[in-house]
Every structure is written in C-alpha cells, then in structure tokens.
C-alpha cells in the first residue's frame, strides 16, 4: 500500500504521453545485470489496522513504568497543546524554509525560539538548533577552534561534570580534525573541579563546563570561567535549559560570561522517545556569530517595507560554501524547536521556574528518603539541582532489575561510565512525580535492599 493514487487509466494515459510501452521501459538505462528480482528482506504489506494492532501490542510490551532515570534525558509534563499544534500538517509536513515567502510560519517560530533561548542563556546569538545536546558539544568544540585563532593546540579541557557520553560523541565527530579532549582534575569529595591541582597545559582552545554536572554536581562556574579566560581559552557551557529557570545563566558566569553555550533541548517539551528526535541548542556572543554552525533566522523587510523573516548569514553553510562551510549540517531539528517554542510560550519564565523548583523539591524528597535506608549514601557532598549520585553497598544492576519487576526504573547504574565510583546509582525525580510515587519508590528500595541483605547474610 504505497500511497499511490494512479488509476489504470491514468497510468495508460501517462505512458502514452511519454511514448513508453510500459513502466518497465522507463528503467531501460539501468544495466540489466544490476537489476534484482524480489526484495526478500521486506515482509508483505500491512493495512493501517494491522500495523496499528502490532504497534499497540509492542508499545504495551514496553509499558509505562515509573521512571527515575535522567542522565541527559528528562521526563517532564508536556502540555497537550504543544504536540497538538506541532503536528499540524502545516508544521509537520513543511520543508526547510528556503522559500521564505511560503515559510513565514516556520521562520517566525524559529525567530521567537532564538529570542527565548538567548534570553534563557543571556547570550547574543542563537542558531535554529542542532541535532542533539551531545553532537552540539562536538559542534561547539569545532566552533571554538575556528574562533580562538590564537590557540593552536587543538586541546579542549573538560571540567569533571561533562557527560562521558558527550565526550565520546565529541571525540567521534571532531577528532578527525585534530581536536583532542583532556579532563580537568576532580575533587573526590565534591566531584567538582579541584582548583588546587588545576593545570591548563599548553595553549588550551577552550574549557567545557557542564552545569549541573552529569552526576548532578554543581560547579563554582564563576571561578572556572574566570580561570579559563585567564588561560586564553574560550568557555563552552553545557546546560540543561529547565535548570536555567533557577541556576545562573551562562552569560553571567564569571566576570565576562561564557563564549558559547549549548545543551540538550529535550526537557523543553520533547518526549523521551527512546532518545530522539531531540534538539541541541547553541548560543554565543556576538563576536563569534560568523563561526556558529547551522541555520539562523533574521528579521528583515519585504518590497512593501513590511516585516518578514528569512534564513540569513547563509554564507557560512554547506549549500553555499561546500568544502569551506562551518559544518556539514543542513538540518535543524525544526519540529522539535517548534514544540519547544510553544512549550516555553505556555510556561513562561514563572512556569519554567516552578517546573525546576518542583523537580528540585522532588529529588530532595527522594534523596532524603533513600538516604534513610541503611547501605545508601551520597557519592559527593554539595548542592544539586534534580539529579544525585548515590553509593550502594552492593552491585546496582540486580537491585535495578528487582525494582524494574515492580515497574520502577530506579535510576542509572554508573558501573560502565564511572567504574571508579564502585556501586553507584544516579537518580532523578522531576515534577511529574507525586509524594506518593516517591514514597513508593523509597519503600520498594528498602524492601529490595533488606531482602537481598538477608539473602546474602
């Protein structure tokens, strides 16, 4: 059922107009020996009703468990209006807004998005978004190398909070251009940068600071920012946009603010959906505007002097500059940005601040409940936003499995990413959880730990 409208009569008339005997004749330029028979790898077609039944069954198999995992993707309430509007055909099935006159809806939406993201981060310039937070850091690293002409080392320093996955992605994308990443020392007590042992080495291009850190820690961002600038490095902030309703904006870090901010936009109204599609946001200071990758929308006037919107500064981009472009990127995550713009409009700053405060409150309740169980302690001292790393006295995986049997996803096992932390678990409770939910998790955890302690005794 390939959604083809042709009747037999249409097809015959069209072939007659072309002067071809049959459709097969249209493929006569393909060498015969390359042609294939049947596509064995593809099953027979299903009707909408059949595929619908199949997908409902599979979605039900995955269930809707209580989720306390964060680690870069966060469950938030998404107002019904957000996706109701974003999936209107006029947004959903529109093309990239190259024909500006026929794309004013998408273009104005992106302009409003750029205005909101620059306001949240307190920086001058926003692009129309990148693929996701992790690849956004890779693009920020490449951008820093282009912008910081004085530093020739290609070395980028990472504060301890930077997500190990982001580091992997940035390495995979940027290392072919001679960029290397090195870690700044961490204080084992707080999990944040150890200022006593700081050493920039030769000629660092940039310092990346993630706030909150991957393990939920909060850095003294003012101090690292100023230190980095003293070393001649640019500062790249990786931030959670919802946290910015509470936490200091990158533009206000240190004496001069950061140079580039980026991060995962998913918390702003995008469903978890197994990891995508999300969007990466990126903002920067005015002086770096010609090095920022991706699309940018600008406001201008038309022939009648009326206001309108266009893609601008396209001379940076691949379809104009080809091999000399700032990046090969030729999409933004347009639909996700549309959703995020609607989300931010519905919530406003006060609404976003309430979401952030409630997530903080819930995580505080969860953590204090879990710390009341024997055998659980915190990995690090210090304040947190909505995520905390906890130390267990036994392997985490079997504990999480038993919680999962109760339809509770109890957090992320840090064994693979942070083997040095021993039995460590990263938990997060956003505004979507009630006190009853949290108490139920704490009591389930108490049961699991007590029974397994009894078993091992």
């Amino acid at each position: 059922m390939p959604f083809i409208p042709h009747t037999k009569k249409d097809t015959d008339e069209m072939l007659a107009a072309i002067g071809a005997a049959d459709i097969e004749a249209l493929f006569d330029e393909i060498p015969a020996k390359l042609r294939i028979g049947s596509l064995d790898g593809v099953p027979e077609a299903l009707s909408e009703m059949q595929i619908s039944r199949l997908m409902h069954k599979r979605a039900a198999e995955d269930g809707t468990p209580q989720c306390y995992i964060g680690a870069g993707a966060y469950e938030h309430h998404i107002p019904a209006a957000v996706w109701d509007i974003a999936t209107r055909g006029e947004f959903y099935s529109a093309y990239t807004p190259y024909q500006a006159e026929a794309s004013q809806g998408t273009l104005q939406c992106i302009y409003e998005y750029q205005s909101m993201i620059t306001a949240l981060t307190v920086l001058d310039v926003s692009n129309a978004s990148l693929y996701d937070g992790a690849s956004g850091l890779a693009e920020a690293a490449l951008m820093a190398v282009r912008s910081n002409r004085k530093a020739r080392s290609g070395r980028i320093l990472l504060a301890p909070g930077v997500s190990p996955v982001y580091q992997k992605v940035a390495t995979a994308i940027a290392s072919n251009q001679g960029i290397t990443f090195a870690s700044l020392p961490a204080d084992p007590v707080t999990g944040t940068t150890d200022f006593e042992r700081l050493d920039a080495g030769d000629d660092p291009v940039a310092v990346v600071i993630q706030q909150p850190g991957f393990l939920g820690t909060l850095e003294d961002v003012d101090r690292i920012t100023d230190w980095a600038h003293e070393q001649g490095a640019l500062v790249i902030a990786v931030v959670n946009p919802v946290s910015l309703a509470l936490l200091k904006a990158p533009g206000h870090w240190g004496r001069n603010g950061v140079d580039i901010a980026c991060g995962e936009g998913q918390p702003l109204g995008v469903p978890l959906s197994s990891g995508g599609p999300y969007f990466g946001f990126m903002t920067c200071r005015q002086q770096h505007v010609r090095q920022i990758p991706g699309r940018i929308v600008g406001r201008t006037t038309d022939l009648d002097g009326e206001s309108g919107f266009v893609l601008t500064l396209q001379a940076r981009e691949q379809h104009i500059r080809r091999s000399k472009a700032t990046s090969n990127i030729c999409t933004n995550q347009g639909l996700m940005v549309t959703a995020a713009t609607i989300y931010m409009s519905l919530l406003g700053f006060d609404g976003l601040a309430r979401v952030a405060a409630e997530a903080h409150r819930n995580t505080t309740r969860l953590v204090s409940g879990l710390l009341g169980i024997k055998g659980i302690s915190r990995c690090f001292e210090g304040p947190f936003f909505h995520e905390v790393a906890l130390q267990l006295e036994q392997p985490v995986a079997p504990v999480l499995e038993r919680l999962a049997d109760l339809d509770i996803l109890g957090g992320l096992d840090l064994k693979t990413s942070h083997p040095d932390l021993g039995h460590a678990l990263l938990v997060c409770a956003t505004e979507t959880k009630t006190d009853e939910d949290i108490d139920a998790y704490v009591s389930a955890m108490r049961n699991v730990l007590t029974t397994s302690a009894r078993k091992s005794a």
Partner: protein, 492 residues
C-alpha cells in the same frame, strides 16, 4: 488558503503577570540551593494565556506551505505524503514515554521494531550491516566518510585522505569530507550527465580514500557506467560511498550493494516518508558492505535466542571495538525511526517496487509535458529518474524570465517552487521531483501553471521580478537581513 494577516511576535502579545495557569505545577517551597549558584535576573520569556499561545502558533502554521496543503515538486528532496498512521503510532505512550536508558526488559517492543528496521534496510539496499544512529543525511555522510578513513587507518594506509566528489554533488558531500579531515577533489561530469571516466582515472591513485556518488545522480539520470566506476575505484584501493538522496528512484529495482558500493546513507525523511518538520528532524541510517562492518557507529540492535524466545539487546563498545563511535547522546532519532518502520511495513515488499515505478512514471510524464510546452530539458536524450532538470537559460536571456522568477511566480499559483540553482553546473535550472504520491491531475495543474507563467513572460511581457504577490509577505530583503542583523527580539 495561506494566512496573509501579519502576526505580531508572541513577545508583543505578552502582558506582565499573564499565565497559562494549567501548565505549571503549584509554587514550591523555598529552593535549598546556595545563592551563589542561582539566577538573579528575569529572562524575557512570553507571558501569555493558553488560548493566546494556541491561537498564535496555529496562525503561524497557516503561513506555511506544507505537503498536506500544497504540491512540492522539490528536486532531490522527495516530498511525498507522510502517512498519518506513522506519527500516531510512534507517539503511543509506551514509545513516546520510553527513557533511552531504560532497561532492555522494558524495551523489547521498541528494540524489536529497530531490529526489524535494520533488517529491512539491509534488504532494500543490499548492504550487509545497518546502523540507525545518524540523525540526518549529513550525519550519515559523516559516519560514512569516517568509516572509510577508519578502514584505511586500520590497514596502515595513512596517506589515503582524498575524497573524490562529482561537481554535481550535494554541498554536504564536500563539507563532510572536510569535516572528516579529508581533501576534496572534484570530478567533472560529461555532457550526458555521467561521470567523466577519463577524469576519474586521472584522479585515482595511492592517495584516494574513496568517491562519493549519488545514483541516480543529482542531474536526474542513472549513472550507466557505475560498474566500471566501482571497478576502477576498488582497483585503485578506494571505497565507494553512496549518497542515498535519490534512493526513492530505484527501490526494488537495483540496490547500491549490488552496484558495488561499500557504504551508503539513507535519508529516511525522503525515501521512507518521515516528516521534514520544517527543516528537521531527519534521519540518516547508514548501511555497509563486509569491509566496513566493524566500523559501524554504535549502538546497533542485536537479536539472540534465549529460552526459546528472541531477545533484543543493544550492541555497543564491547561488541564493536573498532566502531567509529557514538554520534548522538543515545541512539539517534528513535521516534523518526519508528515512523520509518511503520511506513515500510505498510508499503511492504511489492509496494517498494511500485514506489520507484510511479515516482519514475510521474517524473517522466511531467518531463515530457513540460518539454512539449516549450521548456528546455538539460539532458534531453535521457530518461528521467524520479526527477529531471529544465533550464531557463534561453528564457532568462530573451524574456528576462529566470529560474528564480519562475520559482516565485509558482508560489502565487499555490505550488511550492522546484529546487532552483542546483546542481550548480546547469545554468538557470529547476530540478523537479514530483514523487509517486501525486496524482495525474496535480501534475497537469502544475504544467498549466508553468505554461501560464511562460506565456505571460513571452507574449504579454509580464515581469515576475516582484512576485510573489499572494503570499503573507512579498520578496524579502536578504541583503538587509545579513547586514543589519536582527536575530532576536529585544524589548523596546
């Protein structure tokens, strides 16, 4: 009809203290984070009611062209119908709410879909392995060229850094090669639109890492000597990269793997009908032949038998130690992949072949009708693939009717413009791709519009320099936009 009434910015509708009350939780108690970490300023986000917001963005949507409202004969973009079921089913709670790091026990339904998608994509491309993680065509290209480099590096062939790219290629091809630390060499095209074989032979050598080709090419014709090209490149020690932008044209007819390609990216938002979304998300799955299997980007989805049941699980660093690594925070645009999965299951085996057939029928019919109406074809001796090129060079000279003028005039006829000024080597060109989902009536209507525009210019001396007239805005000042940058709202 497109909404022509100007819409103020949402910021200009904002009133201090106004809220969408249902959308935020109740105010929490004091936050226990020390002041040094906290924000003191109040960023300017809109303050609007729920109705205001809904009305604002609904009205903005009405200022767009879209597939659901207009015909998009947009060459190289495959703007086919995006079936509604694909969206509805990808947003089922079990899928939309699933955390990417959730356990495999709560992901078997999703993982099974991804595994089967990998298998189906292998089937339609003739490749040996597929990774779904690249988040757009350009990222698939990046993965592909990075794999080619990793392959040569693993063999100690460190000097192979030259990527050959035809002059007709998409801009992403040379940009990607540069991003991967490679040097780009352009190969010219001969007058029939095929790769210039002598130039190719001259360019091949011990520095050749590979060649990036689109087939059918961006000129809308099938590269007839592809087998010879593949042999030459392989004999020189290089690999062949297939840009899947035009895969729609050959589904079920011929497979890149059988043509000799070592790596391919697929644009699922083109061939497999996931939405363009006003410029993304895309999805650029990659497929590889045997040589590049160890280098695929992770994670992949694997299947194993356990207690008589098939169990699906992630394959990552441990299983693919030579992988080029991770390209996204999780596994790429999973929700887009689900939409592609639903689409492919609905189309099915025989449907795949019908897609190529009717996309090609529509393109050839439209080409013949426009040629009969007096438009000049760029490659008149050739079959169209699923797209073709007309050139306005004569009309531009004689009546000052340029490709851009036709594009803008078509908007007033309620048709989206074809792709203009690409590929770069055909002057004043319009690249036209109707796709298989458009009816004969739509194509005939488009031909009528094209004839009317040409007739107006030729016989009535009408100029379209100031078109469009019936859109929400007239032609916009790009130069002013770049010179007097206004890229965010600032309260007055």
């Amino acid at each position: 009809m497109i909404n022509k009434i100007a819409e103020k910015l949402i910021f200009e509708k904002s009133r201090s203290g106004r809220r969408a009350f249902a959308q935020a939780p109740m105010a929490s108690a004091e936050v226990g984070i020390p002041a040094m970490y906290l924000r003191k300023d109040r960023p300017n986000l809109p303050e609007a009611s729920e109705l205001q917001t809904v009305r604002h963005f609904t009205r903005l949507s009405q200022k767009n062209f879209s597939i659901d409202t207009q015909f998009y004969p947009l060459g190289s973009c495959t703007m086919k119908y995006n079936p509604r079921a694909c969206n509805a089913l990808a947003l089922l709670p079990g899928f939309a709410g699933r955390h990417p790091l959730g356990p495999e026990s709560h992901g078997q339904g999703f993982l099974r879909c991804m595994y089967e998608l990998q298998e189906m994509l292998k089937g339609v491309t003739g490749m040996k392995g597929v990774s779904l993680t690249p988040m757009a065509g350009a990222q698939g290209e990046l993965a592909g060229v990075a794999m080619i480099r990793a392959y040569h590096e693993a063999r100690g062939d460190h000097q192979r850094k030259e990527i050959l790219v035809p002059d007709a290629a998409h801009g992403t091809n040379p940009a990607t090669a540069t991003m991967c630390g490679c040097v780009v060499r352009e190969i010219p095209t001969d007058k029939d639109g095929d790769v210039d074989i002598d130039a190719l032979k001259a360019a091949l050598g011990p520095k050749t890492a590979g060649i990036m080709l689109t087939n059918p090419s961006t000129l809308g014709v099938f590269e007839r000597r592809i087998a010879e090209v593949a042999t030459l490149v392989h004999e020189a020690g290089g690999l062949l990269y297939y840009d899947g932008a035009n895969l729609n044209a050959i589904l079920g007819k011929v497979r890149p793997g059988d043509m000799g390609f070592d790596v391919i990216h697929m644009n699922l938002h083109k061939t497999f009908s996931t939405p363009h979304g006003g410029g993304g998300p895309g999805s650029g799955a990659v497929g590889v032949g045997n040589r590049l299997l160890p280098f695929l980007p992770i994670p992949l989805v694997g299947a194993a038998e356990k207690d008589g049941k098939t169990v699906f699980r992630w394959l990552a660093e441990n299983e693919l130690p030579q992988s080029i690594g991770r390209l996204s925070g999780f596994m790429g645009n999973a929700g887009v992949l689900l939409r592609a999965y639903v689409y492919m299951r609905m189309v099915g085996r025989d449907g795949m072949e019908r897609i190529a057939e009717y996309a090609t029928l529509n393109a050839n019919y439209l080409m013949v009708r426009l040629a009969d109406a007096g438009f000049e074809l760029a490659f008149p001796g050739r079959r169209a693939s699923h797209e073709f090129i007309i050139t306005m060079r004569k009309e531009a000279r004689t009546y000052d009717l340029t490709a851009m003028d036709v594009a803008k005039a078509l908007l007033d006829w309620n048709y989206h413009a074809p792709t203009t000024y690409f590929p770069l080597l055909v002057p004043e060109c319009l690249l036209i791709e109707p796709t298989e989902t458009e009816s004969k009536e739509t194509l005939d209507g488009f031909v009528d519009a094209m004839i009317a525009i040409l007739t107006d210019a030729r016989e009535n001396g009408v100029s379209f320099k100031e078109a469009p007239y019936n859109m929400p805005v007239r032609r916009l000042d790009d130069v002013k936009a770049a010179r007097q940058l206004d890229i965010r709202f600032e309260p007055g």
